[in-house]
């Protein structure tokens, strides 16, 4: 069991207490390709933040690769994020004044990997994602799809246990969205990478093998989606 969530509760207290996660139980096996689907306000972003050790939870237990992720210091949390989790964001979150290859190198920089070594690794990953020629370019010189692929390379470079993607296609057109989802699907199939995608688009969720529905802070239905036919728009259709 790679990820084990046991009765996770989270309440935000900004003047008025807001109970966002109301006892979430969820298990994800190694090598799974899962999507978490829900409307905005359903608590899916909060769940992703907790999975990504970006946020804390109030009660319950979260095991990642057998380690209990609870009451970590900021430094420990940073270390776990760096080694175990690769992030892909809706808005790419590349650093604008760094080139593609420098962006990909950054997680290794924080691991203390020597410059030459991490440059080689970053170039390898860019090459794999077909961006070798774009290594020296800055994010604002690239298309959305290219930027997202740079972000994926950055997420992969530390060989994390899981990839967390937060609306990875949210800022992309439908064709590029299909490309990116296919890329994630390939990574899951060929590299056995565990990938969790948070989305509100059924078309995106349909690409994944398992769809976890979250509604009002609790896990609802969990669909097995091996045949990829759960989308009302049919297979391969990502509706924008």
């Amino acid at each position: 069991m790679l990820i084990q969530l046991e009765d996770i509760n989270k309440t935000y207290d900004n003047g008025q207490p807001l109970h966002v996660l109301k006892g979430v139980n969820l298990s994800i096996e190694e090598g799974e390709f899962v999507s978490i689907m829900g409307a905005s306000g359903s608590g899916k972003s909060t769940l992703l933040n907790i999975l990504g050790i970006l946020d804390t939870y109030d009660s319950g237990n979260y095991y990642l690769g057998g380690t209990l992720i609870k009451d970590l210091s900021e430094t420990q949390a940073a270390d776990y994020r760096n080694r175990m989790i690769g992030f892909i964001f809706q808005s790419y979150n590349l650093i604008g004044f760094k080139t593609a290859v420098e962006n990909v190198e950054l997680p290794l920089f924080y691991q203390g990997v020597p410059r030459r070594r991490r440059h080689e690794m970053a170039m390898d990953y860019l090459d794999k994602l077909g961006l070798k020629d774009w290594a020296g370019h800055y994010p604002n010189e690239m298309s959305g799809g290219q930027k997202q692929r740079v972000a994926i390379a950055r997420a992969l470079i530390t060989k994390p246990k899981i990839i967390l993607a937060d609306e990875p296609t949210g800022a992309l057109d439908s064709k590029t969205s299909v490309d990116i989802m296919n890329l994630l699907s390939t990574l899951n199939r060929e590299e056995k990478m565990t990938i969790i995608v948070v989305t509100h688009e059924s078309g995106v969720a349909n690409v994944t093998n398992k769809i976890v529905h979250i509604r009002d802070g609790v896990i609802g239905e969990i669909e097995q989606n091996i045949r990829h036919d759960s989308s009302p728009f049919g297979a391969d259709g990502i509706m924008k």
Partner: protein, 419 residues
Amino acid sequence: MKGLMKYFDVDRFREIYQTLVRNRSRTILTGFGVFWGIFMLLFMMGGGQGVKDMIQVELQGFATNSGFIVPMETSVPYMGFKSGRTWTATLDDIEHLRSNIPEIATVTGNLSVWGGTATYEEKTSSCQGRGVSPDYVNIEQPVLKYGRYINAVDMAQERKVCVIGKRVYNDLFEDGEDPCGKFIQMQGTYFQVVGVDFSSGNVSINGSADESVTIPMTVLQRLYNRGKTIDLICIVAKPGCKIKDILAKATPILAKEHYFSPDDPKALYNVNLEELFSIMDNLFKGVSLLIWVVGFGTLLAAAIGVSNIMMVTVKERTTEIGIRRAIGATPSMILSQIMLESVILTIVSGMMGILLAVGSLSIAENVASASAGVPIGFQLSFGTAVLGLIILMVLGLLAGLAPAIRAMDIKPVDAMREE
């Protein structure tokens, strides 16, 4: 230790260079404040030192714990004498003061003949004859380029010998020529030169050493029919004793000898060099304090400027810092990066300020030394420069502290909350 070293590798500096260069004009403007602050501080410090040196050259060789008594006209009637009477000090007064005031280290006389002309072969030099005794060296230390000073035998035998000042030497002799043994003529009398005094001090007590022909006091007294009189009484205090007290004790003694009222404010004129020197000393202390306050204030203002800009930078970079945190930067890494940015900005611009200050002071030093003829020290000591650097480093750290703490508080979720 290994973990700590991670913060000081080349990569960190590349990161910092990248961020500083990214906003070049802002970095330059911010750095300029620090640059100017340290430049002002160091330049004023060096300048103050140089001016002090220049004044000290003027005072060179002069006893600073000295006082002088000049006989004047009486202003009150006393013991049957009318006011407006003049009196003259004599060698006896010197003996009286010496035996009655134990605080005195040296008491001696000085008398002058003004408006003389010294002649050697065809060359002449306007000068003034000055009669002193050998212990006058305690008042005004001669810098003997050639020969010796007036000695006791000269006095006792009333030898017609002289020590000539620098200007007189330059007028009468070739540069580098040893005039000792040569005879120069002054007011119709020949004197054998026994020494050349090159002291460059500019304090003029009965004429400056520069343009003097100094001869034994006894000779001057005899040649010019001055009897045992002297123009003024010169006193040096023993260490730890105050000239002020000595002068206060001397007045009644002289008053008794010369029948003037000890309360007569105008019968004698006191010069208390010790007091003048201490006033000047205090002035310099005040000026250097002012320099520190102003210079350090400027520097502090510049550091606050750096802190302010770093604050804005951190605010602008919230997303970037959030991303860094999300992909594994620890809070201490973010803290040290912002601190290092601040320290490097401060030190680099400060170093340029130090360089400019050293350069300008070196020019000032050359100009001043050339015009004074002796080395004048404007330049900063190495220690001062290092102190400047330490101040910069501390200010840089302090300036970076608040922004760094703010940056450290940025949570990775802030990066995603952006849109």
